[in-house]
Symmetry: C2
Subunit: 155 residues, 2 copies
Amino acid sequence: MENSEEQKYGVRKLEISDKSKGFIELLQQLSVCDSVSDRDFEDRFRELSAVGDDHVIGVIEDEASGKIIATGSVFIEKKFLRNCGKVGHIEDVVVDSSARGKHLGKRIVSFLTEHARSIGCYKVILDCSLENKAFYEKCGFQHKSLQMAMYFAHH
Amino acid sequence: MENSEEQKYGVRKLEISDKSKGFIELLQQLSVCDSVSDRDFEDRFRELSAVGDDHVIGVIEDEASGKIIATGSVFIEKKFLRNCGKVGHIEDVVVDSSARGKHLGKRIVSFLTEHARSIGCYKVILDCSLENKAFYEKCGFQHKSLQMAMYFAHH
């Protein structure tokens, strides 16, 4: 049972064909995102692929529907601090609204966290709303500080 | 007067010779950082230089002492969200304890923010303690959400 769930909802890296499996539509559940042209998608995909382990996007594909139903990304910041340490930044975690309650978010976060750990980060961080705080605490995170933002007018 | 302050405390990009001007010692005022070997410093410096505008470290050098007295970094995250948008992440802002009250922190943050804006980011974000919230509000930032962190045991 455990194993079949594991297989059914395993996390893998984003593939270029995932655009046709609803990857962008999934992101639209998280934030503003118009439709992205195939060309723009491929350009960005290749740009991110080029940095390899320094930027990884995990996805869960629903085998029955062939749709991407969960995703999240982690990229690696290289510092001088902490003896030239590295930090994983988790961004853009979202689970399809029809697939909530299956712990897919936790699977995605574990995948991203494990990636950061495996390549030697001393910590992994993310920003979330107050309503998602308890979820990330269950994933092993602790509230640390405040996120501040400045939006630029031309967007 | 304004101009001479501008010249005296202008922000420039980190140079490889800044290690001998107290750059690492300055970072030690911010967080845990043992001394870094010349070799490790140069390796990390070249690694960051290789990504060009995607990771910029600003510094202010005190002309009188030849020491680096303020620094901060910004790196650029490339997303699929927001129509393949880009986000600037500000990290590791610190002003030497002997040089506080000269608005050097604000100069550093402006430099980093302007860099992010100039290369087309739709926003710039950072994490800070409650005690630094008012400073970043003066810099034009707004409190947005919570920062969560997970530290790995092997560090």
